[in-house]
Symmetry: C2
Subunit: 95 residues, 2 copies
DNA sequence: AAATTTGGTTTATATTATAAACTTGTTTAT
DNA sequence: ATAAACAAGTTTATAATATAAACCAAATTT
């Protein structure tokens, strides 16, 4: 039987966010919005879910006078991503 | 920007069904239910969606006296799966 | 100082996934 | 022969999800 897919990661936008964060030290809200093409509202909601699950860490601060929301993947997030990928491969590596 | 993921395939159960069908000549409802672990209701709905999209072909017949629903992947389904996989790889191949 | 822009959050809505309840026909047991 | 249980699905109701529209506060531009 196929492994179940972590529903938190099996979402286009959340997967995109995590996928981006895996490759960088950290990324801010605006960057993630631009890279994913998502609306701010949608991105905000999904970042919140990832953060509440402990998959990412969110730090709200300022860059000069502008608010800036920094996101960074956590170890838990990395591990979850890694399991998700290996589960997913069972579905897509069929030849 | 990341490629969008075909929402018809980006669903755990539908992806499982298509993934199974890719590897075989055809498969019946009961086999798919057992392999996926899905409830009959859920499976019925998802098979219908795949069928309406033209991703699979469904033939209802009988095996002896019992009804038997046979499913088979179509060329369109194969192509969709292949694009889905290559889009997905952008998300998961990050090192 | 009014209008616009920036960086978001909250909330409402549309879509989706899922299982429970149901249907139809078939065995099995009595 | 008939009631009870089972098989193979389908329909429908509900819960969860994704998504964007509407909103807010502060800063910048006109």
């Amino acid at each position: 039987m196929l492994k179940p897919l972590d529903p938190l990661l099996h979402s286009e936008l959340r997967l995109a966010v995590v996928s981006i964060l895996i490759g960088v030290e950290d990324a801010d809200f605006v960057y993630l919005r631009e890279r994913t093409g998502a609306t701010a509202g949608n991105l905000s909601v999904q970042i919140d879910k990832l953060s509440k699950a402990g998959y990412i860490e969110v730090v709200k601060g300022f860059a000069g006078r502008k608010p800036r929301t920094l996101c960074r993947i956590t170890e838990l997030g990395r591990a979850a991503f890694s399991s998700y990928v290996s589960a997913l491969k069972e579905y897509i590596e069929v030849e």
